[in-house]
Protein backbone atom coordinates (compact mmCIF):
# COMPACT_ATOMS: atom_id res chain seq x y z
CA UNK A 1 0.00 0.00 0.00
CA UNK A 2 1.25 3.47 -0.82
CA UNK A 3 1.95 5.76 2.09
CA UNK A 4 -0.49 8.60 2.73
CA UNK A 5 1.94 11.48 3.26
CA UNK A 6 -0.75 13.81 4.61
CA UNK A 7 0.62 17.14 5.80
CA UNK A 8 -0.27 17.66 9.46
CA UNK A 9 -0.21 20.32 12.15
CA UNK A 10 1.56 19.09 15.28
CA UNK A 11 2.16 20.02 18.89
CA UNK A 12 5.53 18.61 19.87
CA UNK A 13 7.36 18.44 23.16
CA UNK A 14 11.07 19.13 22.82
CA UNK A 15 13.23 18.27 25.81
CA UNK A 16 16.57 19.74 26.85
CA UNK A 17 18.43 17.04 24.95
CA UNK A 18 16.71 17.94 21.70
CA UNK A 19 14.52 14.85 21.71
CA UNK A 20 11.16 15.41 20.07
CA UNK A 21 7.91 13.83 21.23
CA UNK A 22 4.73 14.55 19.29
CA UNK A 23 1.73 15.10 21.61
CA UNK A 24 -1.14 15.95 19.32
CA UNK A 25 -1.68 16.32 15.60
CA UNK A 26 -4.43 17.51 13.29
CA UNK A 27 -5.18 16.53 9.70
CA UNK A 28 -7.84 17.00 7.06
CA UNK A 29 -9.37 13.88 5.53
CA UNK A 30 -10.74 13.34 2.03
CA UNK A 31 -14.16 14.74 3.06
CA UNK A 32 -12.44 17.85 4.39
CA UNK A 33 -13.19 16.89 7.99
CA UNK A 34 -10.60 17.99 10.51
CA UNK A 35 -9.45 15.30 12.92
CA UNK A 36 -7.43 15.93 16.05
CA UNK A 37 -5.48 12.97 17.42
CA UNK A 38 -4.17 12.86 20.99
CA UNK A 39 -1.10 10.66 21.08
CA UNK A 40 -1.01 8.37 24.10
CA UNK A 41 2.35 6.79 23.59
CA UNK A 42 5.26 7.06 21.18
CA UNK A 43 6.14 3.39 20.90
CA UNK A 44 9.17 3.75 18.66
CA UNK A 45 11.20 6.34 16.81
CA UNK A 46 14.04 6.01 14.34
CA UNK A 47 16.16 8.26 12.21
CA UNK A 48 16.43 7.59 8.49
CA UNK A 49 18.53 9.22 5.81
CA UNK A 50 17.36 7.77 2.50
CA UNK A 51 18.90 9.50 -0.55
CA UNK A 52 20.46 11.98 1.87
CA UNK A 53 17.14 13.29 3.21
CA UNK A 54 17.31 13.14 6.99
CA UNK A 55 14.01 12.44 8.74
CA UNK A 56 12.70 10.94 11.96
CA UNK A 57 9.88 8.41 12.00
CA UNK A 58 7.59 8.09 15.04
CA UNK A 59 5.24 5.22 15.75
CA UNK A 60 2.40 6.68 17.78
CA UNK A 61 -0.49 5.01 19.62
CA UNK A 62 -3.74 6.90 20.01
CA UNK A 63 -7.36 6.16 20.94
CA UNK A 64 -10.38 7.34 19.00
CA UNK A 65 -14.03 6.23 19.47
CA UNK A 66 -12.93 3.58 21.95
CA UNK A 67 -10.55 1.99 19.42
CA UNK A 68 -6.79 2.00 19.46
CA UNK A 69 -4.90 3.22 16.39
CA UNK A 70 -1.26 3.17 15.36
CA UNK A 71 0.07 6.02 13.24
CA UNK A 72 3.47 6.54 11.68
CA UNK A 73 4.44 10.22 11.63
CA UNK A 74 7.43 11.60 9.77
CA UNK A 75 9.41 14.73 10.55
CA UNK A 76 11.72 15.93 7.76
CA UNK A 77 14.60 17.73 9.46
CA UNK A 78 15.58 20.08 6.66
CA UNK A 79 12.09 21.36 5.87
CA UNK A 80 10.70 21.14 9.45
CA UNK A 81 7.54 19.55 8.07
CA UNK A 82 5.48 16.79 9.60
CA UNK A 83 3.38 14.31 7.67
CA UNK A 84 1.09 11.47 8.60
CA UNK A 85 3.14 8.88 6.76
CA UNK A 86 0.69 6.02 7.18
CA UNK A 87 -1.99 4.69 9.47
CA UNK A 88 -1.10 1.14 10.35
CA UNK A 89 -4.43 0.24 11.96
Amino acid sequence: MDAQNLPIQVIVHCDAEGELRPLRFRYEDGQHQIHTVHIEQVTDSREVEFVGIAAILYLCKAKADGKEHLYELKYTIQTHRWVLFRKLY
Binding site: M1, D2, A3, Q4, N5, V48, E49, F50, V51, G52, I53, A55, F85, R86
Partner: protein, 413 residues
Protein backbone atom coordinates in the same frame (compact mmCIF):
# COMPACT_ATOMS: atom_id res chain seq x y z
CA UNK B 1 54.34 -1.45 2.55
CA UNK B 2 51.18 -3.46 2.20
CA UNK B 3 49.60 -3.85 -1.19
CA UNK B 4 47.34 -0.98 -2.17
CA UNK B 5 43.61 -1.64 -1.98
CA UNK B 6 41.41 0.72 -3.97
CA UNK B 7 37.61 0.59 -4.06
CA UNK B 8 35.68 2.13 -6.93
CA UNK B 9 32.10 2.91 -5.93
CA UNK B 10 29.57 3.57 -8.67
CA UNK B 11 25.84 4.09 -8.13
CA UNK B 12 23.80 1.78 -10.40
CA UNK B 13 21.91 3.99 -12.91
CA UNK B 14 22.35 6.85 -10.48
CA UNK B 15 19.63 9.33 -11.39
CA UNK B 16 17.05 6.58 -11.80
CA UNK B 17 18.06 4.86 -8.55
CA UNK B 18 17.88 8.10 -6.64
CA UNK B 19 14.47 9.05 -7.96
CA UNK B 20 13.19 5.51 -7.34
CA UNK B 21 14.65 5.43 -3.82
CA UNK B 22 13.07 8.80 -3.11
CA UNK B 23 9.65 7.62 -4.22
CA UNK B 24 9.85 4.29 -2.39
CA UNK B 25 11.62 5.23 0.81
CA UNK B 26 10.76 8.87 1.32
CA UNK B 27 7.29 9.09 -0.21
CA UNK B 28 6.49 5.50 0.69
CA UNK B 29 5.19 4.42 -2.73
CA UNK B 30 4.91 0.72 -3.52
CA UNK B 31 5.70 1.08 -7.20
CA UNK B 32 9.43 0.83 -7.90
CA UNK B 33 10.81 2.40 -11.07
CA UNK B 34 13.78 0.03 -10.92
CA UNK B 35 11.56 -3.01 -11.48
CA UNK B 36 10.02 -1.81 -14.79
CA UNK B 37 11.39 -0.36 -18.04
CA UNK B 38 11.84 3.27 -17.07
CA UNK B 39 14.02 6.26 -17.83
CA UNK B 40 14.79 9.65 -16.35
CA UNK B 41 14.18 12.40 -18.89
CA UNK B 42 12.65 15.84 -19.00
CA UNK B 43 9.11 15.66 -20.31
CA UNK B 44 8.14 19.26 -20.68
CA UNK B 45 10.16 19.78 -23.81
CA UNK B 46 10.16 16.78 -26.09
CA UNK B 47 12.48 18.32 -28.68
CA UNK B 48 15.38 18.62 -26.30
CA UNK B 49 14.60 15.72 -24.01
CA UNK B 50 17.22 13.00 -23.80
CA UNK B 51 17.50 9.88 -21.69
CA UNK B 52 19.59 10.73 -18.63
CA UNK B 53 19.40 7.31 -16.96
CA UNK B 54 17.66 4.01 -17.59
CA UNK B 55 16.59 1.01 -15.54
CA UNK B 56 18.05 -2.44 -16.14
CA UNK B 57 14.70 -3.47 -17.65
CA UNK B 58 14.86 -0.53 -20.08
CA UNK B 59 18.38 -1.55 -21.05
CA UNK B 60 17.00 -4.87 -22.30
CA UNK B 61 15.02 -2.93 -24.91
CA UNK B 62 18.27 -1.45 -26.18
CA UNK B 63 17.60 2.00 -24.75
CA UNK B 64 20.79 3.98 -24.33
CA UNK B 65 21.70 6.85 -22.10
CA UNK B 66 21.91 10.04 -24.12
CA UNK B 67 19.49 9.12 -26.88
CA UNK B 68 16.41 11.27 -27.55
CA UNK B 69 13.34 10.36 -25.52
CA UNK B 70 11.28 9.88 -28.68
CA UNK B 71 13.64 7.18 -29.91
CA UNK B 72 13.50 5.40 -26.55
CA UNK B 73 9.68 5.48 -26.64
CA UNK B 74 9.76 3.83 -30.06
CA UNK B 75 11.87 0.99 -28.69
CA UNK B 76 9.58 0.47 -25.71
CA UNK B 77 6.04 1.91 -25.93
CA UNK B 78 5.24 1.22 -22.26
CA UNK B 79 8.26 3.11 -21.05
CA UNK B 80 7.75 4.91 -17.73
CA UNK B 81 9.31 8.36 -17.77
CA UNK B 82 10.24 10.26 -14.61
CA UNK B 83 11.38 13.86 -14.37
CA UNK B 84 14.89 14.55 -13.08
CA UNK B 85 15.26 16.27 -9.71
CA UNK B 86 18.75 17.73 -9.48
CA UNK B 87 18.45 18.93 -5.89
CA UNK B 88 17.66 15.39 -4.84
CA UNK B 89 20.66 14.07 -6.80
CA UNK B 90 22.99 16.55 -5.16
CA UNK B 91 21.70 15.65 -1.72
CA UNK B 92 22.04 11.92 -2.40
CA UNK B 93 25.53 12.38 -3.83
CA UNK B 94 26.70 14.50 -0.89
CA UNK B 95 25.42 11.98 1.60
CA UNK B 96 27.10 9.12 -0.25
CA UNK B 97 30.44 10.95 -0.31
CA UNK B 98 30.07 11.82 3.39
CA UNK B 99 29.46 8.16 4.16
CA UNK B 100 32.53 7.13 2.15
CA UNK B 101 34.69 9.72 3.94
CA UNK B 102 33.40 8.24 7.16
CA UNK B 103 34.81 4.87 6.08
CA UNK B 104 38.22 6.04 4.82
CA UNK B 105 39.95 9.42 4.88
CA UNK B 106 41.18 9.17 1.29
CA UNK B 107 38.25 9.59 -1.09
CA UNK B 108 38.44 10.93 -4.61
CA UNK B 109 35.12 11.96 -6.07
CA UNK B 110 35.16 11.31 -9.79
CA UNK B 111 31.68 12.43 -10.73
CA UNK B 112 28.30 12.95 -9.10
CA UNK B 113 27.87 9.20 -8.61
CA UNK B 114 31.37 7.73 -8.68
CA UNK B 115 34.28 7.78 -6.28
CA UNK B 116 37.49 5.97 -5.45
CA UNK B 117 38.22 5.09 -1.85
CA UNK B 118 41.70 4.10 -0.68
CA UNK B 119 41.20 1.17 1.68
CA UNK B 120 44.89 0.36 2.07
CA UNK B 121 45.65 -0.69 5.63
CA UNK B 122 42.07 -0.90 6.84
CA UNK B 123 41.99 -4.68 7.13
CA UNK B 124 42.01 -4.66 10.91
CA UNK B 125 39.12 -2.19 10.91
CA UNK B 126 36.82 -3.63 8.28
CA UNK B 127 38.23 -7.07 7.52
CA UNK B 128 39.48 -8.36 4.20
CA UNK B 129 38.69 -6.23 1.12
CA UNK B 130 35.89 -8.31 -0.37
CA UNK B 131 34.08 -8.64 2.94
CA UNK B 132 34.59 -4.95 3.66
CA UNK B 133 33.15 -4.05 0.25
CA UNK B 134 30.14 -6.26 0.84
CA UNK B 135 29.56 -4.61 4.19
CA UNK B 136 29.90 -1.14 2.64
CA UNK B 137 27.54 -1.98 -0.21
CA UNK B 138 24.91 -3.27 2.22
CA UNK B 139 25.35 -0.27 4.47
CA UNK B 140 24.71 2.12 1.56
CA UNK B 141 21.65 0.12 0.55
CA UNK B 142 20.28 0.06 4.10
CA UNK B 143 20.99 3.66 5.06
CA UNK B 144 20.56 5.51 1.79
CA UNK B 145 18.19 3.20 -0.05
CA UNK B 146 20.04 2.60 -3.35
CA UNK B 147 22.43 0.00 -4.74
CA UNK B 148 26.03 0.47 -5.83
CA UNK B 149 28.72 -1.52 -7.60
CA UNK B 150 32.06 -1.79 -5.86
CA UNK B 151 35.15 -2.67 -7.87
CA UNK B 152 38.25 -3.72 -5.96
CA UNK B 153 41.82 -3.73 -7.16
CA UNK B 154 45.25 -2.41 -6.42
CA UNK B 155 44.96 0.69 -8.60
CA UNK B 156 42.34 3.18 -9.68
CA UNK B 157 41.85 2.10 -13.27
CA UNK B 158 41.58 -1.62 -12.55
CA UNK B 159 39.15 -0.88 -9.72
CA UNK B 160 36.99 1.12 -12.12
CA UNK B 161 37.15 -1.58 -14.78
CA UNK B 162 36.24 -4.19 -12.15
CA UNK B 163 33.10 -2.29 -11.24
CA UNK B 164 31.96 -2.31 -14.88
CA UNK B 165 32.19 -6.07 -15.36
CA UNK B 166 28.69 -6.94 -14.15
CA UNK B 167 25.72 -4.97 -12.83
CA UNK B 168 23.91 -4.14 -10.58
CA UNK B 169 24.49 -4.41 -6.83
CA UNK B 170 27.77 -6.35 -7.08
CA UNK B 171 31.18 -6.52 -5.46
CA UNK B 172 33.78 -7.39 -8.09
CA UNK B 173 37.53 -7.77 -8.00
CA UNK B 174 40.11 -7.30 -10.73
CA UNK B 175 43.55 -7.75 -9.24
CA UNK B 176 46.57 -7.74 -11.55
CA UNK B 177 46.73 -11.54 -11.46
CA UNK B 178 43.13 -11.71 -12.69
CA UNK B 179 43.39 -9.48 -15.74
CA UNK B 180 44.31 -12.27 -18.12
CA UNK B 181 41.06 -14.06 -17.35
CA UNK B 182 38.67 -11.16 -16.73
CA UNK B 183 39.97 -8.16 -18.65
CA UNK B 184 41.80 -9.40 -21.73
CA UNK B 185 38.87 -11.10 -23.48
CA UNK B 186 36.85 -7.86 -23.50
CA UNK B 187 36.66 -5.64 -26.60
CA UNK B 188 39.21 -2.85 -26.54
CA UNK B 189 36.34 -0.34 -26.41
CA UNK B 190 35.67 -1.25 -22.78
CA UNK B 191 39.05 0.06 -21.66
CA UNK B 192 39.04 3.39 -19.88
CA UNK B 193 40.46 6.18 -22.09
CA UNK B 194 39.56 4.31 -25.28
CA UNK B 195 36.89 6.27 -27.10
CA UNK B 196 35.55 6.23 -30.63
CA UNK B 197 38.61 7.66 -32.33
CA UNK B 198 41.15 5.48 -30.53
CA UNK B 199 39.00 2.41 -31.09
CA UNK B 200 39.00 2.99 -34.85
CA UNK B 201 42.76 3.45 -34.94
CA UNK B 202 43.28 0.29 -32.92
CA UNK B 203 40.96 -1.68 -35.19
CA UNK B 204 42.98 -0.53 -38.16
CA UNK B 205 46.04 -1.96 -36.43
CA UNK B 206 44.19 -5.26 -35.98
CA UNK B 207 43.68 -4.83 -32.26
CA UNK B 208 40.19 -5.83 -31.15
CA UNK B 209 40.50 -7.05 -27.57
CA UNK B 210 42.21 -5.63 -24.53
CA UNK B 211 44.44 -8.72 -24.49
CA UNK B 212 45.67 -7.97 -28.02
CA UNK B 213 46.40 -4.41 -26.95
CA UNK B 214 48.34 -5.66 -23.93
CA UNK B 215 50.51 -7.84 -26.17
CA UNK B 216 51.02 -5.22 -28.89
CA UNK B 217 54.42 -3.65 -29.52
CA UNK B 218 54.54 -0.49 -27.46
CA UNK B 219 56.70 1.16 -30.15
CA UNK B 220 53.96 0.71 -32.76
CA UNK B 221 51.35 2.13 -30.43
CA UNK B 222 53.54 5.11 -29.64
CA UNK B 223 54.04 5.79 -33.35
CA UNK B 224 50.32 5.67 -34.15
CA UNK B 225 48.82 7.10 -30.97
CA UNK B 226 51.75 8.97 -29.44
CA UNK B 227 51.80 9.27 -25.64
CA UNK B 228 48.22 8.09 -25.40
CA UNK B 229 49.21 4.77 -26.97
CA UNK B 230 51.67 4.09 -24.22
CA UNK B 231 49.16 5.05 -21.51
CA UNK B 232 46.50 2.63 -22.76
CA UNK B 233 49.12 -0.09 -23.28
CA UNK B 234 50.10 0.20 -19.63
CA UNK B 235 46.42 0.20 -18.64
CA UNK B 236 45.73 -2.92 -20.67
CA UNK B 237 48.55 -4.56 -18.73
CA UNK B 238 47.00 -3.43 -15.47
CA UNK B 239 49.65 -0.84 -14.68
CA UNK B 240 48.53 2.50 -13.35
CA UNK B 241 50.12 4.31 -10.46
CA UNK B 242 47.92 7.43 -10.32
CA UNK B 243 47.47 8.42 -6.70
CA UNK B 244 44.04 9.32 -5.36
CA UNK B 245 43.38 13.03 -5.31
CA UNK B 246 41.22 13.75 -2.30
CA UNK B 247 41.13 17.46 -3.17
CA UNK B 248 39.47 18.17 -6.50
CA UNK B 249 41.85 19.58 -9.09
CA UNK B 250 41.10 22.94 -10.70
CA UNK B 251 38.90 22.89 -13.77
CA UNK B 252 40.86 22.78 -17.00
CA UNK B 253 38.20 24.69 -18.83
CA UNK B 254 34.79 26.18 -18.37
CA UNK B 255 32.01 25.62 -20.85
CA UNK B 256 28.32 25.77 -21.40
CA UNK B 257 26.17 24.65 -24.30
CA UNK B 258 22.50 24.69 -25.03
CA UNK B 259 20.09 23.23 -27.50
CA UNK B 260 17.87 26.11 -28.45
CA UNK B 261 14.06 25.78 -28.28
CA UNK B 262 14.01 26.23 -32.06
CA UNK B 263 16.74 26.40 -34.66
CA UNK B 264 18.89 29.49 -34.89
CA UNK B 265 18.63 31.01 -38.35
CA UNK B 266 19.47 34.68 -37.85
CA UNK B 267 22.54 36.31 -36.42
CA UNK B 268 20.70 38.36 -33.78
CA UNK B 269 19.17 35.28 -32.18
CA UNK B 270 22.51 33.47 -32.39
CA UNK B 271 24.21 36.33 -30.62
CA UNK B 272 21.61 36.32 -27.89
CA UNK B 273 22.21 32.63 -27.29
CA UNK B 274 25.94 33.27 -27.18
CA UNK B 275 25.48 36.11 -24.72
CA UNK B 276 23.47 33.97 -22.38
CA UNK B 277 26.09 31.19 -22.58
CA UNK B 278 28.94 33.65 -22.03
CA UNK B 279 27.17 35.04 -18.97
CA UNK B 280 27.01 31.65 -17.24
CA UNK B 281 30.53 30.64 -18.22
CA UNK B 282 32.03 33.97 -17.12
CA UNK B 283 30.08 34.00 -13.86
CA UNK B 284 31.30 30.50 -13.01
CA UNK B 285 34.90 31.50 -13.71
CA UNK B 286 34.58 34.61 -11.57
CA UNK B 287 33.14 32.51 -8.76
CA UNK B 288 36.22 30.25 -8.89
CA UNK B 289 38.58 33.18 -9.32
CA UNK B 290 39.85 31.90 -12.68
CA UNK B 291 40.60 33.56 -15.98
CA UNK B 292 40.92 32.01 -19.43
CA UNK B 293 42.72 32.91 -22.64
CA UNK B 294 41.24 30.71 -25.31
CA UNK B 295 37.62 31.03 -26.42
CA UNK B 296 36.00 28.18 -28.34
CA UNK B 297 32.61 28.29 -30.02
CA UNK B 298 30.93 25.02 -30.96
CA UNK B 299 27.98 24.76 -33.27
CA UNK B 300 25.75 21.88 -34.21
CA UNK B 301 23.45 22.14 -37.18
CA UNK B 302 19.92 20.80 -37.40
CA UNK B 303 21.46 17.92 -39.39
CA UNK B 304 23.60 17.06 -36.33
CA UNK B 305 26.80 18.15 -38.00
CA UNK B 306 29.25 19.73 -35.58
CA UNK B 307 31.96 22.26 -36.09
CA UNK B 308 33.91 24.60 -33.88
CA UNK B 309 36.64 27.17 -33.89
CA UNK B 310 38.75 28.91 -31.30
CA UNK B 311 40.52 32.17 -30.80
CA UNK B 312 43.19 33.41 -28.42
CA UNK B 313 42.55 36.55 -26.43
CA UNK B 314 45.32 39.13 -25.94
CA UNK B 315 44.93 38.79 -22.19
CA UNK B 316 43.33 36.19 -19.93
CA UNK B 317 39.89 37.28 -18.81
CA UNK B 318 36.68 36.33 -17.10
CA UNK B 319 34.66 39.34 -18.16
CA UNK B 320 31.33 38.58 -19.81
CA UNK B 321 31.63 41.30 -22.43
CA UNK B 322 35.12 40.38 -23.57
CA UNK B 323 34.30 36.70 -23.90
CA UNK B 324 31.08 37.55 -25.68
CA UNK B 325 32.81 39.80 -28.20
CA UNK B 326 35.35 37.12 -29.04
CA UNK B 327 32.59 34.52 -29.32
CA UNK B 328 30.62 36.76 -31.70
CA UNK B 329 33.64 37.20 -33.95
CA UNK B 330 34.12 33.45 -34.12
CA UNK B 331 30.44 32.93 -34.86
CA UNK B 332 30.57 35.39 -37.74
CA UNK B 333 33.64 33.65 -39.13
CA UNK B 334 32.43 30.08 -39.06
CA UNK B 335 28.69 30.39 -39.64
CA UNK B 336 27.13 31.20 -43.00
CA UNK B 337 24.03 32.66 -41.25
CA UNK B 338 21.77 30.34 -43.16
CA UNK B 339 22.37 26.81 -41.94
CA UNK B 340 19.91 26.22 -39.09
CA UNK B 341 21.74 25.70 -35.81
CA UNK B 342 20.35 23.41 -33.18
CA UNK B 343 22.97 23.67 -30.49
CA UNK B 344 25.55 26.29 -29.56
CA UNK B 345 28.31 26.13 -27.00
CA UNK B 346 31.00 28.39 -25.58
CA UNK B 347 34.15 27.18 -23.86
CA UNK B 348 37.02 28.93 -22.18
CA UNK B 349 40.31 27.12 -21.77
CA UNK B 350 43.97 27.87 -20.93
CA UNK B 351 42.72 28.66 -17.48
CA UNK B 352 44.93 30.37 -14.93
CA UNK B 353 44.74 32.11 -11.60
CA UNK B 354 46.50 35.22 -12.89
CA UNK B 355 44.70 38.33 -11.88
CA UNK B 356 46.74 40.84 -13.84
CA UNK B 357 45.65 42.32 -17.11
CA UNK B 358 47.79 43.32 -20.04
CA UNK B 359 46.53 46.74 -21.12
CA UNK B 360 46.89 47.60 -24.73
CA UNK B 361 47.36 50.99 -26.27
CA UNK B 362 44.51 50.19 -28.62
CA UNK B 363 41.96 49.21 -25.99
CA UNK B 364 38.72 50.93 -26.75
CA UNK B 365 36.89 49.59 -23.74
CA UNK B 366 37.56 50.51 -20.15
CA UNK B 367 37.88 47.01 -18.78
CA UNK B 368 38.08 48.10 -15.16
CA UNK B 369 34.58 49.49 -15.38
CA UNK B 370 33.27 46.31 -17.01
CA UNK B 371 34.88 44.32 -14.23
CA UNK B 372 33.08 46.40 -11.63
CA UNK B 373 29.82 45.87 -13.49
CA UNK B 374 30.34 42.09 -13.56
CA UNK B 375 31.11 42.04 -9.83
CA UNK B 376 27.98 44.06 -9.08
CA UNK B 377 25.79 41.79 -11.24
CA UNK B 378 27.26 38.66 -9.59
CA UNK B 379 26.54 40.15 -6.17
CA UNK B 380 22.92 40.95 -7.02
CA UNK B 381 22.36 37.49 -8.48
CA UNK B 382 23.86 35.78 -5.47
CA UNK B 383 21.63 37.71 -3.12
CA UNK B 384 18.36 37.86 -5.03
CA UNK B 385 18.56 34.93 -7.47
CA UNK B 386 19.54 34.39 -11.07
CA UNK B 387 16.54 36.21 -12.49
CA UNK B 388 16.90 39.31 -10.36
CA UNK B 389 18.91 41.16 -12.98
CA UNK B 390 19.11 40.53 -16.69
CA UNK B 391 20.31 42.14 -19.83
CA UNK B 392 17.52 43.90 -21.67
CA UNK B 393 18.50 42.07 -24.84
CA UNK B 394 17.65 38.64 -23.43
CA UNK B 395 14.19 39.66 -22.26
CA UNK B 396 12.42 38.65 -25.43
CA UNK B 397 14.82 35.80 -26.11
CA UNK B 398 13.58 33.06 -23.81
CA UNK B 399 10.48 32.75 -25.91
CA UNK B 400 10.12 35.26 -28.72
CA UNK B 401 6.68 33.90 -29.51
CA UNK B 402 5.41 35.06 -26.17
CA UNK B 403 8.01 37.75 -25.91
CA UNK B 404 5.53 40.46 -25.04
CA UNK B 405 4.36 38.65 -21.94
CA UNK B 406 7.90 37.93 -20.81
CA UNK B 407 8.83 41.58 -20.94
CA UNK B 408 5.77 42.58 -19.01
CA UNK B 409 6.77 40.49 -16.01
CA UNK B 410 10.36 41.62 -15.67
CA UNK B 411 11.64 44.94 -14.51
CA UNK B 412 13.82 46.47 -17.18
CA UNK B 413 17.22 47.79 -16.28
Amino acid sequence: MAERIIFHIDVNSAFLSWTAAYRCNVLGEEFDLRQVPSVIAGQKDSRRSIVLAKSMAAKKYGIQTGEPLGMAREKCPDLVVAEPDYNLYISASRKLMALLRDVSPVVEQFSIDEAWVDMTGTQRLYGSPVLAAQWLKERIKRELGFTVNIGISSNKMLAKMAGELEKPDKVLTLFPWEIEEKLWPLPVRELFYVGNATEKKLHRMGIYTIGELAHAEVGDLRRKLHKHGETIWHLANGRNADPLQPVAADNKGYGNAMTTPWDVTDLAYGQQVLLSLCETVAARMRRDGQTGRCVTVQLRTSQFESFSSQRQLPSATNGTTEIYEAACRILEEIWDRRTPLRQMGVQLSKVSHDSYRQYSMFDTVRYDRLEKLDTAVDGIREKYGEDAIRRASVLSFENPRKGAQEVAFHVQF
